[in-house]
């Protein structure tokens, strides 16, 4: 692409993001604020694509605008009718405001300057290290290599954070009431969209080893499949029984940790895989992480414990 065209594109995308953010934050109706936020996610995905971050663009398209949008719309639905809060603002003391702005401005500017110095072409950036070690990582996609091999600690803890959020949501009580059974249009749309989502999730999981994709994107798509089945209100669908769902949800963190400990037992450090096995182990971890992310996102979308978890006393269906 020519440079002029790129520059115009950059300015247009930046303007879009800015206008959408302001409109979403200050829209009078909350429903419209959420619609604007979902469009904001779409434009963000385009910005990631423009900045050559296809992995992030995929994740943003699936999680940022998709699952987060569905979550927010569900939260909007269970508000009390009549409580439509406009965009009203508080007026705190100006000292508080000044200090807050100074802190955020300084922090962000400093971190940006730091990153800029670190990552600019002359500095011995981390990217060279990644490229040099990529052949030993077991995968060919550098982002997957960083996530599941070089910085596997981060990803393990990230799964633990997701799991912690899930525990928090489950502790808050039963799930939201189910939506009413949908009409024929939605039912048919869901009927062919669900298998397509599942197939695409499997494809992204597999392709993540050498091209953009991976466990997060795949997990988010699987969760989206669950969410639309839930939204269709079909009474013949249900989640796996309580114990299986729990096992799936904990599986991502669990298998990751077991593999890490096994690597330790074989003489390495925690999460230091043997080089020959790295590809297989990463795929194993990713499969369980995908299922676990999907289960967790779906459970937090339900907003609490599924109904069939409570019906345990009679021992009928656990």
């Amino acid at each position: 692409m020519t440079l002029d065209a790129l520059l115009i594109l950059d300015v247009l995308l930046a303007a879009l993001l800015l206008v959408l953010a302001i409109a979403a934050l200050h829209s009078q109706s909350l429903r419209q604020a959420i619609i604007l936020f979902i469009v904001f996610g779409l434009v963000t995905a385009l910005v990631w694509a423009r900045l050559k971050a296809p992995d992030v663009a995929l994740a943003e398209a699936a999680i940022g605008s998709g699952v987060a949008g569905a979550l927010l719309l569900a939260a909007l639905r269970d508000r009390r009718p009549g409580v439509e809060a406009g965009s009203s603002q508080q007026r705190p003391a100006w000292q508080v405001l000044t200090v807050t702005y100074l802190v955020i401005g300084l922090t962000l500017t400093a971190s940006w300057a730091f990153l800029y110095a670190q990552l600019s072409a002359d500095a011995p950036g981390l990217n060279r290290l990644v490229q040099a070690e990529l052949a030993n990582s077991g995968v060919a996609n550098p982002v997957t290599a960083v996530l599941l091999n070089f910085r596997a600690y981060d990803t393990l803890l990230e799964l633990a954070v997701l799991f912690g959020a899930l525990l928090g949501v489950l502790a808050l009580g039963p799930q939201r009431p189910a939506p009413r059974i949908a009409g024929p249009v939605v039912t048919h749309l869901v009927a062919w969209l669900t298998p397509l989502l599942i197939v695409t999730a499997a494809y992204l999981l597999w392709v993540g080893a050498h091209a953009p994709g991976g466990a997060f994107q795949a997990g988010a798509l699987l969760a989206a499949a669950g969410i639309i089945v839930r939204l269709s209100g079909n009474p013949h669908t249900a989640l796996p029984g309580g114990i299986w769902m729990r096992l799936i949800a904990v599986g991502g963190t669990g298998v990751f940790l077991l593999v890490g400990l096994a690597a330790m037992g074989l003489g390495g450090k925690l999460l230091q895989y043997p080089a020959d096995w790295a590809g297989t182990l990463i795929l194993l971890i990713e499969v369980f992480a995908t299922l676990s992310i999907a289960a967790s996102l779906l459970l937090v979308y339900l907003g609490g414990q599924p109904r069939n978890w409570a019906a345990r006393k009679d021992g009928s269906h656990v």
């Binding site: 249009v185 939605v186 048919h188 749309l189 062919w192 969209l193 397509l196």
Partner: protein, 95 residues
């Protein structure tokens, strides 16, 4: 030859995209806009996809791109039906 064909398709696609947006701005009524916008947009994306598919040179990628168009078509058909019903519901409440 293929370049020329794909250029024609891409430019045609852009034309319909712009037509759709103009429709969104100019037409007076939600149902009119729905009628015009969804048709123009899907045609625009279809032509764009055809033009781009000719440039890909890989059968699997071509099929994937065509699948994207089919998906958008089906989703927007269902979506416009749902939006139209929503509009009619709103009108029914008011009258």
């Amino acid at each position: 030859m293929i370049d020329l064909l794909s250029a024609i398709f891409i430019l045609g696609g852009l034309f319909f995209f712009i037509a759709g947006t103009l429709g969104l701005i100019r037409l007076p009524d939600t149902l009119c806009r729905l009628h015009a916008v969804t048709k123009a947009d899907n045609l625009g994306l279809g032509l764009l996809v055809l033009g781009l598919a000719l440039q890909l040179g890989d059968l699997l990628l071509m099929l994937k791109v065509l699948l994207i168009w089919a998906l958008v078509l089906a989703a927007s058909a269902a979506g416009s039906q749902l939006i139209a019903r929503h509009v009619l519901d709103e009108r029914g409440d008011r009258s």
